[in-house]
């Protein structure tokens, strides 16, 4: 079974600085998707960035980028020029690319990292 591990329960960053959130996962599959979701205090979970495992190029969305190391099964999120609005809980998630129905449709989450942004 696949697992997702976030080893940093809490992180803090100064406004305008850069922070990296860590995520590792375990899977025997070769084709899958990885996601970072953000959950602000309003509780609405929103997608930050996604990565397809078959793509070697790291995904980037404005100030957010990932460092995807497939062999190491590592998927870290870098937030550049941190803003007060980035303060939230961040979840790393895994999803299989297989389409056999049932369990292959599951979205598996880590335990989250609470990011504080200091003014």
């Amino acid at each position: 079974a696949q697992t997702v591990t976030q080893s940093q329960p809490e992180m803090s960053v100064q406004e305008a600085e850069t922070v990296t959130l860590s995520c590792t996962y375990d899977t025997s599959e070769s084709d899958y998707y990885l996601f970072w979701y953000k959950q602000p205090p309003s509780r609405q979970m929103i997608l930050v960035i996604r990565q397809e495992a078959y793509k070697q190029q790291n995904a980037t969305e404005n100030r957010f980028s990932v460092n995807f190391q497939k062999a190491a099964k590592s998927f870290s999120l870098k937030i550049s020029d941190s803003q007060l609005g980035d303060a939230a809980m961040y979840f790393c998630a895994y999803r299989s690319h297989l389409n056999y129905g049932g369990a292959t449709n599951k979205l598996i989450f880590g335990t989250g990292t609470l990011l504080a942004v200091q003014p």
Partner: protein, 116 residues
């Protein structure tokens, strides 16, 4: 604007009550999920459904059941609520793999359930 709507943001129920949490999505998604979120434990999957009337147990199904009679609606049922079911409940939906690549899950705003 895509939307996943959960019927309540806050609920307070008594021990032993039967509780229904409703979730509706307007994106014609095949998959729907119910997660439970607790501090330090992340999101744990309770049940999910990949089609109408189809359901699969997640990691923590004990004490819960689900119903999916229509594609847009996925209900979570606590047959006899207990205090250890006090938690945040999140509903999500997505297209099934193969429908389109790179499909993400969309979430409702969550229901904070307190069982007293």
């Amino acid at each position: 604007d895509v939307k996943v709507t959960q019927s309540s943001r806050y609920l307070v129920k008594r021990t032993g009550e039967k509780v229904f949490l409703e979730c509706v999505q307007d994106m014609d998604h095949e998959n729907m999920f119910w997660y439970r979120q607790d501090p330090g434990l992340g999101l744990r999957l309770i049940y999910f459904s990949y089609d109408v009337k189809m359901k699969e147990k997640g990691d923590i199904p004990e004490g819960y059941s689900v119903s999916r009679e229509k594609k847009e609606r996925f209900s979570l049922i606590l047959e006899s609520a207990s205090t250890n079911q006090t938690s945040m409940y999140l509903c999500a939906s997505s297209h099934r793999q193969g429908h389109c690549a790179n499909t993400e899950a969309f979430f409702g705003q969550g229901t904070r359930l307190t069982v007293v």
